[in-house]
Structure formats: C-alpha cells, structure tokens
C-alpha cells in the first residue's frame, strides 16, 4: 500500500498527463492509427533534443535553457547546407559536421558565463537564449547579403539582404534521415518485441540475480508486442500505414546508449560529483569549472544535432522562430516525464516527449470539441508548457528550502 502511494506521489505529474492525454484523445475523436502516425513522427522529431538536456542536469547546472544556442548552431548549418543544395543523408551529415565547431564554441562561452553566474544558472541560460536570438537575427536578417556575401533567390529576401522568414527543406534535407528506412508500425512492434525477448534471455542466462517480477513483465510485454504486431500485419489493418522512421529512432537509441555509457566513465562520475556537491568535488581534486564547461559543450553540441534531426523531420522551418521555442518545449517535455531540476533520466525524457506531444496533438482538437474553439486548446497547451516549468521550478526550490530548514533544526 505504501509502495503504491509512494509511486503515485513520485510520479504525480506524469500520471496527471497520462490522464489528460487519454481524456483528450477520447474527446478529440482522433482515430488510433491516425494519432499513432502523428505521435511516432513527433517522437522521432523531438526525442533527441529532449535527451540533450540530461547532461547539464547531471552536472548540477539545472535545466539548460541555452540549448537554444545549440539549436541556432544546427539551424545555421542547415541554412548553409540548403544554400549549397546538398540533399539527403549527405546533407544532414555535413550539417552536423558544420554545426559542431560552432556548437563547441558556443558551449564553451556558455559554460564560462555560467561559471561567473554560479547559483543563477537557469535564469542566466534563459536570458542567454533571448540574447543570442538577437545576435542570430542580426546575422541572418542584416548581415547576410550585406556583409556576408550570399546570392540565393530562394533563401534571401528580394531586397538582397536577410533571409526569408521561412525556409522549405523539400528536395533538400527534408526527411533525409527518416526516409533511410521506414517500416510499418506493426512490423516494428514485433521486431522490438523479439529484440526485447532476446536481450532478456541473454541477461537471464548470464546472471541469475534478475528480479523475477521485472523479468515476467518484460516477457509479457515482448510477447504482447510480437503477437499484436503479427496480428495487425495479418489482418492488414490501418496500423500498417503508420510507417516508422527507423533511421531517426536508431540515432536516438544511439544517444541513449551513449548517455548510459557516459555516466559510467570517469568523466561522467566526476560530473555527477560536481552536480551533487561542488565542495566535495573540489576536495577530491576535480576541477569543477572545467567539468561544468564540458557539460555545457556536450549539451550544446547534442542540441545542435537535435535541431537538425528536428527540422529534417518537419521539413520546413521559420528562420527566426524555430529555435526560440526549442528550449522551452524540450524542458517542458522533460519535466512532464517526471524529471526535476536535480534529476533526469533517459526514461523520463522519452516518456515526457511522448506525453507532451500527445497533449500537443489533442489539445486543439479537444478545444474545438469542448468549447467550439481550437484556439482555446492552443492557449491551454501554452499554459501547460509554461505552467509545468514554473510549477516544477517552484516545487524544487521549496523542497530545497525545507531541507535547509530541517538541517538547521537538526544541527541546533
């Protein structure tokens, strides 16, 4: 009983959003295959970006609103690649390569700024995002065409200075990664089930100390996925029209593996120590300033890749707006998954992305059905995104204050 209660209180936010999502889905009247198509796409689009937030949390820097800078680096690279008209996977790889040095430099600068603004990291990254947006506009709205030579009738405004407000990636980077390999959803489910089964068989025979409950759960899930997938394939249901962009998901999977692996390295452990207690870290001979800069660089570089993955999936972007929301939406997603300022896991990031985008899909439709106005649904999701960030920041700070008070009382 206490276990159940603890589970409920620890995961209150995520549970609330599961309820909102399910109710919204029912009210919106979306059919399941249609919804699935949308959500699979959005998961492929945004997971990478949300995952790029984990490392700064590990290093005790809190939620990195400055992934906006990484997003800008990615976007700048995309603009260059689109200008050079290099399509497909080659273009995407080139964009990632081009964004890399820029993201590293921006990451170092952000890290150094944060070392000066200790204890105020989050508000600093937030304002830094706004600030760099000004620089971004300066470069792409005023300097391109006037100082930086660029001749391109499609990208540049008719006056010859500044980029157009929206850029279409069709015929260029659009779906370059997604279209590498697309597999019908039921097949994907069955294959996932088989892999899951395989991994756990290996685990079971290697180590005998696996918890029985967990093993049974995974086994049932795997068998269900296989059975359901095969059934859907056999009956040729609508689900077969949902085609999963496997390439993109493999990259996301790659990042998950990387993060798991990274946290076990010496550097990852140092980062965790710095995040938990800087003084202990200093005593242990860890250069915390350096570690914090490395964390920011990693996050910024990952965010630049994240934005490239995001935009190749979307296929079109608003030159001066797409990066702006990237940070906020990613952070809201992470928090909805149950993460906090001090702790974030891969599972929380993925679950959060799923729940956040479910809300994104259903709320305008639900708004129209419930109030006769889709705009109210849009206000609702903006409110939720901002509100969830405000709420979880407030709860975290409150908890810290209570802990400090408790400690003070104990020491007296």
């Amino acid at each position: 009983m206490t276990q159940v209660r603890r589970f409920l209180t620890n995961n209150a936010v995520s549970i609330l959003f599961v309820v909102i999502g399910v109710l919204g889905l029912r009210v919106s009247g979306l059919s399941l295959p249609f919804f699935l198509e949308d959500i699979v796409n959005r998961l492929a689009r945004n997971s990478f970006m949300v995952l790029s937030l984990i490392i700064p949390v590990l290093a005790g820097l809190g939620l990195n609103f400055a992934i906006v800078l990484g997003a800008m680096a990615g976007q700048a690279a995309i603009i260059v690649v689109t200008h050079w008209k290099i399509p497909g996977v080659g273009g995407i790889l080139l964009a990632i390569l081009l964004a890399f040095p820029l993201a590293v430099v921006l990451g170092i600068l952000t890290g150094r700024l944060l070392n000066r603004a200790r204890g105020k990291e989050m508000i600093t990254t937030l304002i830094l995002g706004f600030f760099s947006n000004g620089i971004y506009q300066l470069v792409f709205l005023l300097l391109v065409g006037s100082v930086i030579p660029m001749k391109n009738d499609v990208l540049v405004l008719s006056s010859g200075v500044g980029l157009r407000t929206s850029i279409d990636l069709t015929g260029g980077l659009k779906n370059g990664l997604d279209d590498l390999l697309r597999i019908p959803f039921p097949v994907c489910a069955a294959v996932t089930g088989i892999l899951l089964l395989g991994v756990y068989m290996v685990g079971f025979f290697r180590r005998r100390s696996v918890r029985i409950g967990k093993l049974v759960g995974i086994g049932v899930l795997a068998l269900f996925l296989i059975g359901w997938g095969l059934f859907q394939v056999y009956t040729r249901s609508m689900f077969n029209f949902v085609r999963v962009p496997v390439g993109t998901f493999l990259i996301v999977l790659g990042l998950c593996v990387f993060i798991t692996f990274f946290t076990r390295t010496k550097l990852g452990q140092d980062m965790r120590t710095v995040g938990q207690d800087r003084h202990i870290a200093e005593v242990a001979g860890i250069d915390s300033d350096r570690i914090r800069i490395i964390a920011m660089v990693m996050s910024t570089v990952l965010a630049s890749i994240g934005q490239i993955v995001f935009l190749q999936n979307l296929g079109t972007f608003s030159t001066y707006g797409s990066h702006e929301q990237a940070g906020m939406f990613a952070i809201a997603a992470l928090l909805i998954g149950g993460a906090s300022v001090a702790k974030a896991t891969i599972g929380q990031a993925l679950l959060g992305t799923l729940l956040f985008h479910t809300m994104f899909i259903v709320s305008p439709l639900a708004g129209r059905t419930l109030f006769g106005d889709a705009q109210l649904g849009e206000f609702f999701r903006a409110f939720v995104a901002y509100g969830i960030i405000g709420l979880s920041l407030a709860l975290h700070s409150w908890k810290k204050q209570m802990q400090a008070r408790e400690e003070a009382r104990r020491s007296v």
Partner: protein, 346 residues
C-alpha cells in the same frame, strides 16, 4: 592617475559607458542624416513618460531582496483588466484613466499577495520561478480575454467571441496625460502631464522608502538575517514589496497604454518584464541595489536608444529591423551582465 581613472570607469560600469556611447553615436548619425533632433527628443520624453512607472516597479522588488521583478506580467494583467473595465463602463478622458488605475489596484494587491506568498517559498529562485509564473499567467489570461463577459462592441471582435488583441484607446484615455499641460520649447514637445505623473509616482516611492516600513523593507534586502534579528518580519516585508511592485506594474501599463494609444492583450505582456529590468540595470542598479535615479536615468537612456535607432535605421534603408534587434541585444545583454557579476547568489 590612469589607475584611478580605470577604477572610476569600472565603478561606473563598462556596459553603461558602452550604452551612453551608443546613444551618442546614434545621435550624431541622426544629425548627419539630418533627422530633426527636436522630434527625437520629443519622442524620448513621451517614451520616458510611458515607461518610467514600469521600470519603477523593479525598485521595491530589488530593495526587498526578491531581485528583478520578472513577475511583472502579473501586475500588467491587473492593469489591463482595470483598463478594460473602465472602457466597459464607457468612461472617458482622465476619469477613465484614473478609474482604470482604481479598478486595477485591488486586483494587483490580491495577485501581488498571492505571488508574494509563492516567492517566500522559493527564496533564491525568484527570477526563474517568476519568469515562468508570469508566462503561465499570461497564457492563462488568454482564456480570460476570450471568455470574460465584456460586452462593449469597441473591444469585441467583429466575428467570434472575446476581446481584440489590441484595444484602441482613441476617445478613451489615449494621450490624456501626454496632452495635459503640454507645451512646446524650441520645437520640443514636452508631455508635462505624463512627466508630472511619473514625478509624483517617484516622489511617493522616495517618501515611502524613508518611512519606518520603507526602511525596514530595505533592511530585508540588504541583510535578511540582521533584519530578522532586529525584529522585522522578513516574509511579510517581502510580500509587501511584491505587492507594491505588482501595483506599480498595473499603473505602469496604464501609463504606457495612454501614451501608446492601445491596450495590448493576450501575449503582449510576456516580455515586458525584461525590458523594464534592462532599463533599471542600464540606469546603474544591480540585482541587489537600486535607486530612484537609476530608474529615471535608465529609462531615459534605454528609450533614447530605441527612439533614435528606428529613424536612423530607416534612413539607412536596408536595416529595417535594426531597432528591434538592438532592443533585444541591449536589454538581454545588460541583464546577462548583471547576472554575471560576483556576489548576489540567487
């Protein structure tokens, strides 16, 4: 000698010097582009009248120790509600303006009280929490603007329900303060009423800061432990400071709106907190200390830049959005500079 000069410059603040030089260079280029100087100065005065009270709302918050008042949208929304109510009641002129202030103050007290309670629970993260509470409140109020039962056709959409995104104040209280006792001096129009109004607000603030309560409030910001030891209820003072800031935000947006000629609803209030914060920081405030002179000097410098940047940029033709871009860079740059200063842990 040189060292002495350097320390002086440093204490004056490098960004402030940059901003003053930037303003001077804009003025000089304006002169070269033969943009009429009196008109620029007139505009600067109008903008000063519009923005000073919003900037002033940062002051109590900084002094009481809750740092920059990024919850400003809360106050702004109270002010906008007051303005909308005054139009709904079909009021006109100065009556409409002061009635709007009158309606908004009780709301601001209520909202400020609640917000103050919240800030007391999140000591050390006031700015981050405030920013997002402000954002969330703005999007929550977007529901309100659509659903609140205001009937006046002036404010309603032609089709659909809810209030317009911008409500014109023409024939209501547009420019009521600017036109009051206005006169011209060497071609410079002086919006006397607006300047007197902001003068009165600053005077009230100055007097309040010299009262017992005002002094106690400043003590809380300077040294909360000492304040507590000397019998001041720090939490109550912080709530009081927040309430005053919220009220000033409400009055501030109404003075802004009378100069601008429109009430801007929905998402417009979202980023106004950053502009006001930037203004007071440009004037010489830090995250922990501020004076009324900082409010006025800062607003003058910041708005001066914005006023001149636009015509200068337009004359150079290709740089159409320079004014907006320099606003973003200057305002956020100065906030970043303040955050990166030593001390003042959030």
């Amino acid at each position: 000698m040189l060292e002495h000069l350097l320390t002086k410059i440093r204490s004056f603040g490098i960004p402030r010097i940059i901003i003053i030089l930037f303003l001077l260079s804009l003025w000089i280029s304006a002169a070269f582009l033969s943009i009429p100087f009196p008109a620029l100065l007139s505009d600067t005065f109008v903008r000063l009248g519009m923005n000073t009270v919003l900037t002033l709302s940062m002051l109590p918050s900084i002094l009481v120790g809750t740092s920059l008042f990024f919850g400003l949208p809360l106050g702004i929304i109270c002010g906008l509600l007051g303005g909308v109510m005054s139009i709904e009641l079909n009021l006109k002129g100065l009556t409409a303006f002061f009635a709007a202030i009158g309606f908004s103050i009780p709301l601001a007290i209520l909202v400020g009280y609640g917000y103050g309670l919240l800030l007391n629970r999140v000591k050390g993260s006031e700015m981050t929490v405030g920013t997002y509470v402000g954002f969330a409140f703005v999007s929550l109020m977007s529901f309100g603007w659509v659903t609140l039962p205001f009937k006046n056709p002036e404010m309603a959409w032609a089709i659909g329900k809810g209030i317009r995104v911008t409500v014109s104040l023409e024939g209501r209280f547009s420019n009521v303060l600017n036109k009051l006792w206005a006169f011209e001096l060497y071609g410079v129009k002086i919006p006397t009423g607006a300047l007197v109004f902001l003068g009165v607000m600053c005077l009230f603030m100055g007097l309040f800061l010299r009262t017992r309560t005002g002094l106690a409030m400043q003590e809380c910001g300077m040294n909360p432990k000492f304040a507590k030891a000397s019998g001041i209820n720090v939490d109550r003072m912080r709530i009081l400071g927040t309430i005053i800031s919220t009220i000033l935000g409400a009055i501030g947006i109404l003075t802004y709106a009378q100069g601008f000629g429109f009430l801007q609803l929905y998402e417009a209030p979202m980023y106004m907190g950053f502009i006001a914060a930037a203004a007071i920081l440009i004037g010489g405030a830090s995250l922990k200390t501020a004076k009324i002179s900082h409010v006025i000097i800062g607003t003058f410098l910041f708005q001066g830049i914005l006023v001149v940047a636009l015509p200068v940029a337009n004359t150079v033709a290709t740089l159409g959005s320079l004014a907006e871009i320099s606003r973003i860079i200057v305002s956020n740059g100065i906030i970043l500079y303040a955050l990166a200063q030593k001390g003042g842990n959030e």
